[in-house]
């Protein structure tokens, strides 16, 4: 293993601090103390919040499948679709854009996967037991979390936050029939007004799942466990410190859509925070956090039959960072300021074992120890009018990448003899979002501009094999900054029992980064069709629209439905990959007297806009039907909650556009969840 030496970019951060001090200074000086209470507003205006926490009794029952994986929770969101390479570690996409175009954070912490083949989206390093909710911001509404084009997702950790609940605990278990998934979890919490401690643990183990028609999907097993500890201590009435530690380890994870599995994916995520209710008299909710996380990811092909060449592909990713943020209110203006920075090291290598064992091992660096420094300032002003509001926000960031390993630098110089060791960018984001209420109508509209730097793979990847389009990918350190201008609009008609929303957004992404075939290059991976170089297209266009509704049929019955359509094309009008066809979902939920039930249908139309250049084939239309049933019992003061359900009742054999290499999805599945909480 490569030893990393921690070098923190003090210089860059110092400059960033100065910048923010100047900006704040100019804003602060003419203002007076405010009277508006600190918590009156949630200043990050989000498109959607998914409630995940398993311990919040009432919410819990409304969830159709309480102990499902985080991936399933995210997939239930209106705006997120998950790309699947197996049963585990799905990759979130938003507005038809994946990891590199999204800012995904855990409690505000930047974390980057250590796998060159995107087998470990950072959502795979936390579990539902850790989280209270997922905050989702589409487009530049997610810029508070980091530079992004498609949006931002922040997974909020579950904390007691000095609520006077004393000791509480719960035990949970679930079983799923299709892949014999066993889940065991528990948590133990103590909280009073001065101190809290939250601990939880969860363990999941699943065998291969079966697709519709009882077809076993080999190498779809997984096993993982996750522990976390959260604690906070009040120093004074308005000051507190808190700390978080998460340990997550997955072993024996199969990826049926890929040529390799994973023998270890391990993350250690830690942070310490300092919170103060006010700052300089004018600011409120001042929160500062220092964090560090380290990930090790080891791919494994030893269990696969007929591999042309055995290879080891370990990867490491280490990130240290900070943020400090505060609110500031002045009359109609509600400001939110955040200064953040991180330093990431991404290193991945590949060792291949030649068939002729007399030959030396074949070694290359697939991620050449890329050091990424980023210091950003985010500011927003939420201006309240009588019946309308306007939110203006901006993110300005200094971003640099350096190839720290000479072996890696020399490797890339084979392709780019003139390349520099370091690449520096200044990233900007601006957005204006307007909301107006007129009788029962809500109008939301906005325009924004955002930029992002290429990901480590896009900039510095070295022969990364993509099994979807069967090409080796090589990064380009000279890629231009990708930028996007987007507009969104949504209209909601809202009555107490009835609500309907029509929304649409359009992204024009300039210098869109995607792999383009270079016929002059020879493949590295045996059996690959060719080599693609990450290239800036002149532009690409993405259009997403959806219609969703909610109707309360009675107090007990509620209907929800959603239909969406997406389109993505490049500057030649060619289809972009992984763009959703027409898709829909609809459900009837019942909830009365501690009984809950649901019946839902999920489906998609035929994927007619696909692109074979990216390995896509036409995915057929499908629909699946699922049902759930739950009951809550009171045992003395404690709660027992039982939920059971069937997914894919008709055992449909199908795959969606998000399924890597069209691996079929899970067939009929019965699940049972039991939670016992001690209050």
């Amino acid at each position: 293993m490569k030893a990393f030496i921690s070098v923190f970019p003090f210089k860059g951060m110092l400059m960033g601090s100065l910048l923010v001090a100047m900006v704040c200074g100019t804003l602060v000086s003419p203002l007076y103390a405010q009277e508006i209470p600190a918590d009156s507003l949630k200043l990050i205006n989000l498109n959607e919040v998914i409630v995940i926490s398993t311990a919040k009794q009432l919410d819990h029952q409304k969830q159709r499948k309480p102990l499902s994986t985080l991936d399933e929770f995210l997939e239930s969101s209106r705006s997120i679709k998950m790309v699947k390479r197996g049963a585990y570690a799905w990759e979130p996409t938003m507005n038809d854009m994946a990891s590199e175009r999204l800012a995904v954070t855990i409690d505000g912490m930047q974390i980057f996967g250590a796998c060159t083949d995107k087998m470990d989206p950072i959502t795979s390093y936390v579990d539902v037991s850790n989280l209270s909710e997922a905050e989702i911001g589409s487009g530049q509404q997610g810029a508070a979390f980091g530079n992004s084009i498609g949006g931002g997702i922040n997974l909020k950790l579950d904390k007691s936050n000095f609520k006077p609940t004393g000791w509480t605990g719960s035990l949970e278990s679930a079983f799923e029939s299709n892949n014999a998934m066993r889940v065991f979890g528990g948590e133990l919490n103590y909280s009073d007004e001065k101190f809290y401690l939250n601990t939880d643990a969860i363990y999941r183990k699943a065998d291969n799942y079966s697709a519709g028609g009882d077809e076993e999907v080999k190498f779809s097993q997984f096993e993982k466990y996750n522990f976390s500890v959260n604690s906070g201590f009040k120093l004074t009435e308005d000051k507190s410190v808190s700390a978080t530690l998460i340990y997550d380890e997955a072993t024996d994870v199969g990826y049926p859509a890929l040529t390799m599995d994973v023998s270890l994916a391990r993350a250690v995520i830690g942070s310490v925070s300092f919170n103060q209710d006010t700052l300089f008299g004018n600011f409120s909710n001042w929160e500062s956090k220092l964090y560090y996380n380290t990930i090790k990811h080891t791919m494994d092909d030893t269990k696969r039959p007929d591999v042309p060449i055995h290879m080891d592909m370990p990867g490491w990713s280490e990130t240290a960072g900070f943020y400090t943020q505060a609110n500031f209110n002045k009359e109609k203006n509600h400001f939110f300021f955040k200064l953040d920075g991180f330093y990431n090291k991404s290193y991945a290598e590949m060792t291949m074992y030649p068939t002729n064992s007399n030959e030396p091992l074949m070694f290359m660096l697939t991620w050449p120890d890329v050091r990424t420094k980023d210091v950003g300032f985010y500011g927003e002003d939420h201006i309240q009018f009588k019946k309308a509001s306007l939110k203006l926000s901006t993110r300005l960031a200094y971003h640099s990448n350096t190839v720290a390993d000479d072996f890696g630098l020399n490797s890339l110089k084979i392709f780019y003899p003139e390349m520099e060791k370091t690449n520096t960018r200044f990233l900007k984001s601006f957005s204006a979002q307007y909301h107006n209420m007129w009788h029962d109508f809500h109008l939301n509209g906005g325009i924004s501009y955002g930029e992002r730097a290429p990901s480590v793979s896009e900039g510095y990847g070295f022969y990364l094999f993509n099994s979807f389009d069967n090409h080796d990918y090589i990064g380009d350190p000279g890629l231009k900054t990708e930028s996007s201008a987007d507009a969104n609009i949504s209209i909601t008609f809202k009555k107490p029992i009835f609500e309907i929303t029509a929304s649409a957004n359009y992204f024009r992404v300039f210098n869109y980064i995607i792999g383009v075939v270079d016929n002059s290059l020879s493949t590295m991976t045996i059996g690959a069709e060719g080599v693609k170089i990450y290239t800036n297209l002149e532009y690409a266009q993405l259009f997403n629209t959806s219609l969703s509704g909610r109707y309360s049929i009675s107090n007990a019955f509620k209907w929800t439905g959603q239909i969406s359509y997406h389109r993505g094309v490049d500057n030649d009008g060619e289809n972009l990959p992984l763009i959703s066809p027409l898709s829909y979902r609809s459900a009837i939920d019942f909830y009365k007297n501690q009984y809950s039930a649901s019946l839902s249908v999920d489906g998609a139309g035929e994927q007619s806009n696909y692109n074979p250049t990216y390995g896509e084939t036409k995915t057929a239309a499908y629909a699946t039907l699922s049902a759930s049933f739950g009951k809550r019992f009171f045992l003395n003061d404690n709660d027992l909650f039982v939920k059971t359900g069937i997914e894919n009742i008709l055992d449909t054999h199908y795959s969606s556009y998000t399924d890597w290499n069209n691996i079929p999805r899970m067939g009929r599945n019965f699940y049972l969840t039991i939670s016992y909480s001690i209050n």
């Binding site: 030959e359 074949m362 072996f407 003899p417």
Partner: protein, 284 residues
């Protein structure tokens, strides 16, 4: 206040200390002119010795870079006006032949004479290589002959090609650099000689050797941005670029073209023809 004065004094002292040691480093250190080389032979004559150095531990089939110096025992100094020449000769049972070699020339170091010999074959019990050295000492011509052992390279890799071209000329192509290949664009260097007679191996100028590195173990993977070997009149070698995308076993497929661009030896690598008959092998 007093402690502060002390600290100040210590600071000043340490600064002056540092500056002193800086001065010391400027004193020139005598450089050993044969640093990193191994003395593989030493000929002891009455009033002088001849030392033969190589980068390797012994002479091998293929390209050998050899350094020579002559020490006058009377003055205990190495000569800088020895003007040595040499001739390697293979004594076989029925015949004898020479080997391609360069002139011996002064290097930056005036007492060290450097040149190279491309041995086409290894020596054995009955067939041996003899290296004859001619030089002058104090205006007097000297000659020494030395039997040398030439071994096959231990790694068993093909780095020397002796072949007859389509023009019926016998050629000797030998790999020179990179000595330590890297995952990078390497400076690639080779020497090309032809056999005019058994004793005469002139250097071939202005031909071209195309370069196509492949990894047979990886489905004949190749690399971009290689540069063909072309003649460099200054160094009298063929220079090009060799890109190696990973460590491992590489077969460098070559094609020799004369000044008219006619192929004298070697073939293009295609799906049907995975390798050229003219090649070098590398492992690292």
């Amino acid at each position: 206040m007093k402690t502060l004065t002390y600290i100040f004094a210590i600071l000043i002292l340490s600064v002056s200390f540092v500056s002193c040691s800086d001065d010391d480093e400027n004193v020139p250190v005598e450089v050993n002119p044969v640093e990193g080389l191994t003395m593989i032979y030493e000929i002891e004559a009455t009033d002088h010795t001849v030392q033969i150095y190589s980068e390797k531990q012994n002479l091998e089939v293929g390209y050998n870079e050899i350094s020579i110096r002559v020490k006058d025992l009377a003055s205990d100094k190495f000569l800088s006006n020895a003007t040595p020449t040499w001739m390697p000769m293979m004594h076989m049972e029925t015949m004898q032949h020479a080997a391609p070699h360069s002139m011996l020339q002064n290097t930056e170091e005036p007492t060290v004479y450097k040149g190279h010999i491309v041995f086409q074959m290894a020596s054995n019990n009955t067939e041996y290589w003899e290296l004859t050295l001619n030089y002058t000492m104090n205006g007097e011509a000297k000659e020494e002959a030395l039997r040398v052992t030439v071994a096959q390279p231990v790694d068993g890799l093909k780095k020397t090609q002796v072949f007859t071209g389509s023009d019926d000329v016998r050629y000797i192509l030998a790999y020179v650099n990179p000595k330590e290949p890297k995952v990078a664009v390497n400076d690639f260097q080779a020497v090309l000689y032809k056999m005019e007679t058994m004793m005469d191996f002139p250097m071939v100028e202005n031909y071209k050797i195309t370069v196509d590195p492949r990894m047979p173990g990886m489905g004949n993977h190749s690399s971009p941005n290689n540069e063909d070997l072309t003649y460099n009149a200054a160094t009298k070698t063929y220079d090009g670029k060799l890109s190696l995308t990973m460590t491992g076993y590489w077969r460098i497929n070559l094609k020799l073209l004369n000044t008219n661009g006619e192929v004298l030896k070697g073939e293009d690598v295609t799906e049907a023809n995975p390798e050229s008959s003219l090649y070098f092998e590398l492992e690292f």
